[in-house]
């Protein structure tokens, strides 16, 4: 299977995402200025500071030519993973509900966090057990997830609340400790922590992040149980 990893001016973790994706399949970078997804089976919108986080994080990247193709791809059911800045881009593009606001502590914070799997068995958490705890680093200043009460209730009913920060680990103030959400259909997923930095014990202190990429592979290859 092939992953396409988007690259915007200011993306930082795209090569890290590329390496993580290559642990489970093929992957290549897709330049923001063109519209060709080059046959990717799944798209990763990576972390970083696309366009310097100008105006609002992800606000400008959302309009990049490549995003037009990604939006069509998502509408057709293609798998799209948004990590950190990528999550922000997907919310700005309305592929995911809600918005990411500034951390309550008003600072960029980098910390290895514990996450709980609230909904397993989906395209991105297929390899995870319900309630499983994942150790993944988070590093951001605009990660406070927000959606209004009505939206949240609907998301909850539809199983769209996928990951939440373990008790005491929510440093950004996200509502209901939400760390990662999917769209209604389940093919688009965004999370603030960085699974691509948890694929290796040596460098990541944990390889829990690999499960997300593995899940995507299983989904694409139709190997779901």
């Amino acid at each position: 299977m092939k992953f396409g990893v988007l690259q915007f001016p200011g993306s930082c973790d795209e090569v890290d995402a590329l390496q993580a994706a290559r642990r489970v399949g093929d992957a290549e970078l897709l330049w923001h200025g063109q519209r060709d997804l080059r046959g990717a089976d799944a798209i990763i919108v990576p972390g970083g500071f696309s366009y310097g986080d100008y105006l609002r994080a992800g606000a400008i990247a959302r309009f990049a030519p490549i995003m037009e193709s990604v939006i069509d791809f998502a509408r057709d059911g293609g798998l799209v993973l948004g990590i950190c800045n990528g999550f922000q881009v997907l919310c700005e593009a309305r592929l995911l509900p809600g918005a990411l606001l500034g951390n309550v502590n008003r600072r960029f914070t980098f910390r290895q966090v514990g996450l709980e799997v609230l909904n397993s068995g989906g395209s991105f958490t297929d390899g995870c057990a319900l309630g499983e705890r994942l150790s993944i680093p988070a590093k951001h200043s605009w990660g406070r997830y927000y959606a209004d009460a009505e939206t949240l209730a609907a998301m909850d009913r539809a199983g769209q609340l996928v990951l939440r920060y373990a008790a005491g680990e929510n440093f950004n103030g996200s509502v209901h400790d939400i760390a990662g959400v999917s769209n209604e259909r389940g093919n688009v997923f965004g999370l603030m922590p960085h699974p691509e930095h948890a694929i290796d014990e040596l460098v990541g202190g944990s390889s829990d992040g690999l499960k997300i990429f593995e899940s995507m592979r299983l989904t694409v290859e139709g190997a779901r149980v």
Binding site: D16, F49, Y54, V203
Partner: protein, 782 residues
């Protein structure tokens, strides 16, 4: 760049009736920081016999290039005594950064620089642009930046013991500087993997912000900055040029800070990491495609110093047209364009045939690119404003002929620094003393700082802050070589074979250097090497930033001279030559100079990241041992500071050879995985180091130290000196080390408390109490 035949001779060549025809006076020269004698020399140089006074453009350029910051007038002679050659050195001092061979055809480029005065005026932007500047130095030689470290100094941050509000300014500077470093490093995608911060009274009026960066490049593809090839084109690329930092170099860096700081605010440079990210990629791709002959970044004194230094190194001349420089603000005068310190700009030399390709690449990366000049064989720097010649200077005069001054060192006859205000009574119990030390600003956990930095982007970081004594970075960011995988589902086998890595540390205890500039500096170098040893790394090379007061004062001259002597001796003994560095002088106000602070950065290599050392205890039941020629003394220690003791005159002698031998043994044991943990003993002494090992590992310890008879048990517990290491491991592991070097077993890991027995004394603290004390800095970042 054709020369207008109407313009006069090569000697004067300035058209009359222009704005720059207004002739500056010697008073202007003095205001810009030149001495009367220097001004007269400039006049003489400007046109050989006969002499012609420099015009506005020329005077501005001379005043910057002849400033302390650019010319190293007071330090150059001293710096020439330092060892700069060695087995691994590929690029030594004199280029944008130094570089050492790290194997596999790769080099590690690294350097440390300061941005002290701008940070005192605007800490966020001062620190941010400091990071931006050092990063540019790294990619200017063709290396991709892979890590940043920072070394900071501020006044006391807590209001006690000096009274309410006394720590406000230091907290403000600390907060701004950390935020600025994080902002720049995080945004550009370079991890900040280590650093240090000290809080001492003498830095209250003169904070220090030093930034170090490392990069990786291919040995065959390194680029130098010497301009070459008369007829070649000079291309400026990156951000537009505005009025940032005009007069910065001479106004801020060569003068002591006075009351008038507010007026200096307009000269602070503002950094844009997003712009620099584009600039970095553009520069690296230009080099990758072999499109440029030479590359230089624009830092202090902007276009003036970059162009002049490129010309000087290449022994060529440069013609430059300010009208071709892309401007951010209209109506900038030629001298403003020449001295602007707008950030995120680079200068390169390109063969005419490649200029179009260079411009295309600039467009791809969305950076401004403009051909602004030509390399000539005239040996002169000629500045044009469109067709009008507005400045004409011999390159040699600008760059090489600046007078150098000998220092007049005189050892001070009495103390220079006020003793610190006491915050701990002399009769405090050892238990409370330990808690006070662990919670003191110089020792407490730096987590509230380093959590503002992304330490993992680029996926190389094997040891993050507080995991080990030095940062460890895998050389290959993709050690499992997934890049070659084209299979659809087979993961390559994980972790086969050793993973070579770099280690890096940055250190300096300015207070101890103040007590003894010679030995204190040796200690700083040894500290770096000991930190590297604890992760299993061998030193390859050193960089340094010498932060001192006013060198024209004899006691500061003495500090500087002695410090450089110690630096040289230590680097020679450890075979870790200096590959580059920076000098920041005049860090002084009416209340006196800063502590002499020679910040040392050292890079090392270890053969296998999988065996990189850790500082925390790992396993209950492990044996704890003390290793090395550790001869602790309370003189100039952190405890002495808390007690309000005056600095001693001199530090105890150091047996560098013995410390070096201990480092070698520790390193060997770490490399073969014989140890569970290794930690160098530094501020706060042995007891503090034990506490740090317990906290990092989440495990207590039971330790018994031999009673030292006539010695003061507090000196054994809290005394400081180089060459002491705390290690832990299985009994077998510890005794295997014991076959190479004397080890003294002192206890066992386990439990949820730290117990230290010495003589009749028993000190006990719980991990919870230690953790509470250790978190003291969190309140500074409310």
């Amino acid at each position: 760049m054709s020369e207008d035949p109407g313009v006069a001779t090569a000697s004067s060549g300035i058209a009359p009736g222009t704005a720059s025809a207004q002739q500056p006076t010697v008073e202007d020269a003095l205001a810009l920081g030149l001495t009367r004698a220097e001004y007269e020399l400039v006049c003489e140089k400007q046109d050989g016999a006969g002499g012609r006074a420099p015009n506005q453009v020329e005077l501005a350029m001379y005043s910057l290039l002849w400033s302390e910051h650019c010319a190293y007038k007071h330090s150059k002679r001293l710096l020439r005594t330092l060892p700069t050659e060695g087995r691994y050195v590929v690029m030594g001092p004199g280029e944008n950064a130094g570089a050492v061979d790290v194997g596999g055809g790769l080099v590690c480029a690294f350097k440390v620089e300061s941005h002290n005065h701008p940070s005192a005026v605007e800490p966020f932007q001062g620190a941010a642009t400091g990071v931006g500047g050092i990063l540019r130095d790294i990619f200017a030689i063709g290396a991709r930046p892979i890590a940043v470290l920072d070394s900071l100094r501020f006044g006391e941050p807590l209001d006690a013991p000096l009274g309410p509000g006394s720590g406000t300014r230091s907290r403000y500077l600390l907060d701004g500087a950390v935020a600025g470093i994080g902002h720049y490093g995080n945004s550009i995608g370079v991890p900040t993997v280590g650093g240090e911060v000290y809080f001492e009274g003498p830095y209250e009026q003169n904070c220090l912000v030093n930034a170090m960066a490392l990069g990786l490049g291919e040995r065959e593809k390194l680029v130098r900055s010497a301009a070459a090839g008369p007829g070649n084109t000079l291309v400026l690329f990156g951000a537009r040029t505005g009025r940032d930092g005009i007069g910065g170099a001479s106004v801020l860096a060569s003068a002591e800070l006075g009351e008038a700081d507010e007026g200096k605010r307009p000269t602070v440079q503002v950094g844009d990491p997003f712009e620099e990210k584009k600039l970095l990629e553009c520069s690296l791709e230009l080099l990758e495609r072999g499109l440029i002959v030479a590359l230089q970044d624009l830092g202090a004194a902007g276009l003036t110093s970059s162009a002049a230094e490129m010309a000087s190194k290449g022994e060529v001349g440069i013609d430059l047209d300010v009208a071709k420089v892309p401007l951010r603000e209209g109506d900038m005068e030629p001298f403003e364009v020449m001295v602007s310190e707008s950030q995120e700009r680079m200068l390169c030399v390109v063969e005419p045939a490649n200029v179009d390709a260079v411009m295309e690449l600039c467009e791809k990366w969305e950076v401004n690119g403009s051909a602004i000049g030509t390399v000539t064989d005239t040996g002169r720097m000629r500045v044009f404003a469109d067709r009008e010649l507005v400045g004409n200077m011999p390159v040699r005069a600008l760059v090489d002929d600046c007078p150098l001054y000998d220092l007049q060192p005189v050892k001070p006859s009495g103390p220079i620094y006020r003793p610190p205000v006491a915050s701990l009574a002399a009769d405090t119990s050892p238990r409370e003393t330990l808690l006070a030390l662990v919670g003191s600003p110089n020792i407490a956990s730096r987590r509230p700082l380093f959590e503002q930095y992304d330490a993992v982007v680029q996926s190389r970081t094997v040891r993050r802050p507080e995991q080990a004594d030095a940062a460890v970075l895998a050389l290959d960011r993709d050690p499992h070589h997934t890049g070659d995988s084209h299979s659809t589902g087979d993961s390559p086998p994980a972790g086969e074979g050793p993973i070579p890595a770099l280690a890096v540390s940055i250190d300096c205890n300015g207070r101890r250097v103040a007590a003894d500039p010679y030995r204190g500096t040796i200690e700083a170098v040894l500290e770096c090497a000991s930190n590297l040893a604890c992760v299993g790394a061998e030193p390859l090379g050193t960089t340094n930033n010498l932060n001192f007061g006013n060198p024209e004062r004899p006691h500061v001259a003495w500090q500087l001279t002695e410090s450089v002597r110690g630096l040289g001796d230590a680097c020679r003994a450890l075979e870790a030559p200096i590959v580059g560095g920076n000098v920041s002088l005049y860090n002084e106000t009416s209340s006196g100079p800063i502590y002499p602070t020679p910040v040392i950065g050292m890079v090392g290599r270890l053969p296998d990241a999988r065996c990189a050392g850790r500082l925390g205890f790992a396993r209950a039941g492990d044996t704890i041992a003390l290793v090395g020629p550790f001869a602790p003394s309370l003189a100039a220690s952190e405890l002495a500071k808390l007690r309000g003791d005056r600095l001693p005159d001199g530090l105890p002698d150091i047996d560098i050879g013995a410390v070096h031998a201990a480092q070698f043994a520790i390193r060997g044991a770490v490399r073969v995985g014989a140890l569970s943990s290794a930690h160098d003993i530094a501020e706060g002494g042995l007891a503090t180091a034990l506490a740090e090992c317990c906290l990092a590992g989440g495990l207590g310890a039971d330790v018994r130290l031999p009673a030292t008879g006539d010695g003061d048990p507090l000196a054994d517990l809290f005394g400081e000196a180089p060459g002491g290491f705390l290690i832990s491991g299985t009994p077998n592991g510890v005794s295997s080390l014991g076959r190479r070097t004397p080890v003294s077993v002192i206890g066992t890991v386990g439990g949820d408390s730290l117990h230290i027995g010495i003589g009749d004394l028993l000190l006990s603290v719980t991990l919870a109490e230690l953790a509470r004390a250790h978190g003291a800095l969190a309140e500074l970042f409310g």
